[in-house]
Amino acid sequence: MGKLSSNTIEKIEKSFVYIAIFTFIGLTLFPLIWVFTTSLKPNDETMSFPPKLIPEHVTLENYAFVFTDSTIVKSLYNSLIVSFGSMILNVTICALAGYALARFEFKAKRILFSLILGLFMIPVVINIIPLYSILANLGLLNSLVSLILTFQILIIPLNVILLKNYFETIPKELEESALIDGCSRIGVLRRITIPLSMPGFAVASIFSFIFSWNEFVLPIVLANSPNSTLFQVALYQFISLYRIEWGYLAAGITIALLPVIILIVAFQRQMIKGFTMGSIRG
């Protein structure tokens, strides 16, 4: 009898835990779900009162508008170039740095590693005014290449740590025995190290893509001419240029959200591990 009642208590406790977690998730996702359903409403329904969560008539006209507005399409294109460019550059330089820190013993190792970590303590927002001034004086504002380069400061430290840790999990002996078997250093990298590091590269790539895709402060300061606007900035200028058209904006937000949601659904396990390991965000 006593055993049964303690079991019941445990069951009640557990259902409270589930209810609390699901309530929290519901509250968390509510604003995004609201924006998503708004993106499917025709314009006269968007600002109707009382507001309805489920659209009466589902329409894709807001998406059609977003994909035909030349400024927004251009900005989407720019964002893809900058995010992929920044990702490729970032993974390359962080892999080199991480490999050096994981595989070599050298005099300045500790100092250089602390330098990479220490520089990350400088808040990026403090740098927006000098970066603006430097790039303005060099005539390099409104350039996608400048954006790709400046975005690196957001992600280098996180991905250097991540890839360094990853390389350390690959046994050094594998590389050494291949070297003894007459494989060249580059051959070892190509046939052993790089293939084994692919999961690490994947997580690092996802991080740099998401950071670049989401970044707003650097591009709004450094690149706001019509030709170099990124997607997030274009959505922001949307509200200052016109009266807010919430239907269009909701469609834009949904598009901005899409790649990130896809990535986290596909790679949740690896990303959570990486996030916890680095636990850093610009």
């Binding site: 977690i21 808040p123 989401n214 959570i272």
Partner: protein, 289 residues
Amino acid sequence: MHSIARYEPYLYLLPAISILCVFLLFPFAWNIYISTHGVSITTILKEWEFVWLDNFIQVLNDPNFHTSIKISIIFVGGSVAFQFLIGLVIASLLNQNIKGKQILIALIMIPWITSGLIAAFSFKFIFDNSFGIINYMLEYLGFSSIAWLSDPKIVVWSIIIANVWYGTPFTILFLTAGLLSINPSIYESAKVDGASKIKSFFYLTLPMIRSFIIIDIILITIWSINFFEIPLIMTGGNPLFASTPASLYMYRQAFEFGLLSKGSASGIILLSINIVVAFIYIIALKRRG
């Protein structure tokens, strides 16, 4: 051959270090130069006049800056308190023996991987005075609606709510990692000793994840001090400076009013605040550890 091998690691580190120096370290020093000169958007390509500490004096005497510091204290205090408390509760619940934990964590993570812009717009939308869902619900329940984005006393809380929504998943994740690091056999022995769940939470769990808690609070404090996307997009810092934290004050001086040097000076003041806060926390971490 031998001498090349000696320089090999330096060669690999060169790209990362040089980009950090050019785009992080050098601008950082350049900020000091700008803050001691009189530079605005219109004079940026002309000769810069050296003005000693004029910009700092201007900032420190600016009543709007005093407001922004007050707003910062409320914004940072509110954001950190709520992010931490909600994060601790949810992380403890997730630490119970429940099914589908991985998927639940992935769902909880979603706000954190969206951008600040998405967070700000979503809340601007649901907080809207005339057609926002929140005011509709308040009226439906018989309360009067609230001017979330235009009442100078309320607006800071609206940006705190959006920031808590955006930032809490990080604390949940970080404290979950902390809770996972505890050896479960400790709870077994506490159970044998007859300690209640609540007692063992306060006397066992919390002390064991102490360092996770302190590092989490350091990180979310520093992020909240420097973060201004949400107020910039939700309210532009308005009405007047009622939702302008010190970080947004810096941005507005430089890019709304064009006063780059005044912005730089407030940026350096902001940096000193960062350093002081980090220092206080580090002392706290060392003293009790």
